[in-house]
Amino acid sequence: MAGFVLRRLTTIVPTLLGITVAVFLMVHLVPGDPAQVMLGERATPESLEVLRRELGLDQPWYVQLGRYLGGLASGDLGRSIKSHTPVSAELATRFPATFELTLAAMVLACAIGLVAGVLSATRRNSIWDFAGLAASLAGVSMPIFWLGLILILFLAVNLGWFPVAGRVSATTYIEARTGLFLIDSLVAGNFRAFGDVVHHLFLPALTLGTVPAAVISRMTRSSLLEVLHEDYVRTGRAKGLVEWLVVLRHALRNAFIPVLTVISLQFGYLLGGAVITETIFAWPGIGRWLLLAVYARDFRAIQGGVLLVSLTFVTINLIADVLYAWIDPRIKYRESS
């Protein structure tokens, strides 16, 4: 297994390098002068020259790329052009908020999607199945920025069940250790704060998790239907296992590889969708910050933010790859042969 993980790790190195260079080039090889953008139309040629030299923009692009990669190796992502704070520090304070939201959305999506998918497949052509199919189709067609606003209107404003925005109430204090408030509040033994965090997390996570829930449910249904008539499932039934055990232990485990692929790919959707969800719910994560950076054309911040989110996505896909081999050992052997 260690060999398999190592081999996988080496295959993502070119992708990581590709992403880094792509992000760099995306920001640098385009017409327009970042210094001009920063200083505005009325900047004097002298001040532009000074700023260009300060940012290293007077150097050829490959020198800039070299410097950027060198900086990356030591964790230096440069300074935000707008706020002049180190980009890495900004990311470090905001990333946990995005990560917590993404994970919560994925947990909700998996819970809803897997249950709905299994119900649909095991009760094929029943009213459950049709309801599940219709709901999942509606889910994948849903503009989440609209769904978020509707949820705020009904569940937060009209019914008052959930807070409208933010990560915690103003009166709640949580000492940030990991930055993941769910964990921090538990570690501190502060269950009231934990409840407050969950309360704030629910609506954004539901908004963000709707599309993945629908996709997971569709994939679970179709992939489970394919294996439900296999011999080993019949054998499970024949030896007298109760139906839910047959489905969970024999069918779902074998149907799970495509579902896992979908789950890992949906993380990409979640990390991207976080930009929209964070904007709607005033969530202090990377997504909203990145959007503000885009408005301000703060290229260092954009570079750092996009890079971190993409690296997270690649890492999650790597973890999924390792999980495949754990669930289905044949993959590991095929790879090594």
């Binding site: 509606a138 885009v294 996009v306």
Partner: protein, 286 residues
């Protein structure tokens, strides 16, 4: 699929027609196209005309969907928005389909270093969350509807490239392609007459579902203020402009949202139906 002829088409139509969700999707889509074509006759007001005395009036006979904070008729704006959404979908899918198909054909047919190089670039593009890549592209090009369409199109290129490459790889060594080559056919002719027709079915499905995704993504970009700019009656931009009115005038948000949802739903239903019709195994295999 290539030699299907009219008999094959009829068979396809029968399979499509018996798929209930596909028929519903097709119906919704026809409605959408009729609305987009009939904009001048259906819209009751000028979508940009402001009426500051009639701001935020609730739905009524005069304003079916009410008015927004500038007193503009929301019904007419939603109707006009259908054309913009159709344009977005077609342009984005057009970019993705043409560039992606070309890359997939070249990669699959040439193989070797060309294939490796092109597909690694596609891999890197897929390593970005798609909406984030689109935001990045718009950040560079600058906000605006055309740039948003281009960004959404560029982001989708790898999907088409992978699809066409896979199809190309399977037919490249087929006997009839070898036969064409032996007869002295050039690369372009082989690609156009033997390879490309094999990709048509999966591409049609992908393009239909792609229309749904691009309309949704472009509306998302407009919602974030990176796509269509005010006062363009684009659905995402309308939602963005109406955000603050969620409590006082919910109708400002309701109808553009419903329009996006119904349009995306119709393309998704149609895409699913086409996939089932092209691949009977999926229906019986389930």
């Amino acid at each position: 699929m290539t030699s299907a002829g009219t008999g094959g088409l009829q068979h396809l139509w029968v399979r499509y027609r018996t798929n209930r969700s596909a028929v519903v999707g097709g119906g919704l889509l026809v409605l959408f196209l009729v609305v987009a074509a009939g904009v001048p006759w259906i819209a009751t007001h000028d979508p940009l005309a402001q009426d500051l005395y009639g701001r935020l009036s609730a739905p009524s006979w005069d304003h079916l969907f009410g008015t927004d904070d500038f007193g503009r008729d929301i019904f007419s704006r939603v109707i006009h928005g259908s054309r913009i959404s159709l344009k977005i979908g077609l342009a984005a899918v057009g970019v993705a389909l043409s560039v992606g198909t070309l890359i997939g054909l070249i990669a699959g047919y040439k193989g070797g270093a060309v294939d490796q190089g092109l597909m690694r670039v596609m891999d890197v593009m897929l390593a970005f969350p798609s909406i984030l890549l689109a935001i990045g592209i718009v950040a560079i090009l600058g906000p605006g509807l055309n740039h948003a369409m281009l960004a959404v199109g560029i982001v989708a290129i790898p999907q088409y490239a992978r699809l066409v490459r896979a199809s190309t790889l399977t037919v490249r060594e087929a006997d009839y392609v070898q036969a064409l080559r032996a007869l002295g056919a050039g690369d372009v002719r082989i690609l156009a007459t033997a390879v490309l027709p094999n990709c048509v079915a999966p591409l049609m499905v992908q393009a239909t579902l792609g229309l749904a995704t691009s309309i949704l993504d472009a509306a998302g970009l407009s919602f974030l203020g990176l796509g269509a700019q005010p006062p363009t009656p684009e659905w995402g931009a309308m939602l963005s402009g109406g955000r603050e009115l969620i409590l006082s005038a919910p109708w400002v948000l309701t109808y553009p949202g419903c329009a996006i949802f119904a349009t995306v739903l119709s393309f998704n239903l149609l895409g699913d139906g086409l996939r089932d019709a092209f691949d009977p195994r999926r229906v019986s295999g389930e």
